[in-house]
């Protein structure tokens, strides 16, 4: 584990395309980067028993979640030749079609980033205590479970 400090990964509400664009622009001064790989998780309007999901309300055990995000970051830098990595996750209400997870990895060369991004996303899904309440159009709900 390095000395890098634990950052807050959470943002309130959906992650906007403008936010993503600004992140991309910030990396254009890093001239040694040759390849970026971006994962975006988007809330699906799933249909369950004829009811459609209209939003997910995210909560988290934030202190542990940020620590887990940090451990995943450190493990990824250890395993893969990355120039940088950024992770953002929503808290609160995110509507169907909106983005709730943004993972951004960059490297001088492309080969490493595909594997790195998949590693990071799978680790997030498995290890980070984030909870999702799927809210249907009639205001009933069910709890999302990652598969």
């Amino acid at each position: 584990m390095s000395d890098r400090e634990i950052k807050n990964v959470f943002v309130q509400g959906a992650i906007s395309a403008e936010f993503i664009a600004r992140s991309i622009v910030k990396h254009q001064s890093k001239n040694q980067i040759g390849a970026h790989n971006i994962f975006l998780g988007q809330v699906r309007a799933d249909v369950v028993d004829e009811k459609t999901v209209k939003a997910i309300e995210y909560t988290a055990y934030q202190e542990m979640a940020n620590r887990k995000f940090h451990e995943i970051r450190e493990a990824a830098f250890e395993k893969f030749d990355l120039t940088c990595m950024h992770i953002y996750h929503s808290l609160g209400l995110v509507k169907a079609g909106e983005i709730c997870l943004f993972v951004f990895v960059s490297s001088p060369r492309r080969k490493t980033i595909f594997e790195a991004l998949e590693f990071v996303v799978e680790e997030i899904k498995a290890k980070v205590p984030v909870f999702g309440k799927e809210i249907f159009e009639d205001s009933t709900h069910q709890w999302k479970v990652n598969t």
């Binding site: 995210y58 055990y61 542990m64 979640a65 984030v130 909870f131 999302k144 990652n146």
Partner: protein, 77 residues
Amino acid sequence: MELKIKYFGLLAEVTGCEEESIFFSGNSISELLETLYTSYSGLKDKDFQVAQNMELVSPEDKITNTNIVLLPPFAGG
């Protein structure tokens, strides 16, 4: 000793609270769970994990912190 128990997501719906203090005289996580099942029988058939010191723990682990957190299945991303 007095423990602070936190419940997230579905589990807070089952217990009707997000956080509570309980007096507990046992040693292990499994003993604590038996105590909680007595108060909230609805917890028994729920799928959840227990965290202590921001790490997941097993039922046989000893209690080493007065803050214990019950976590329903993860749903990040």
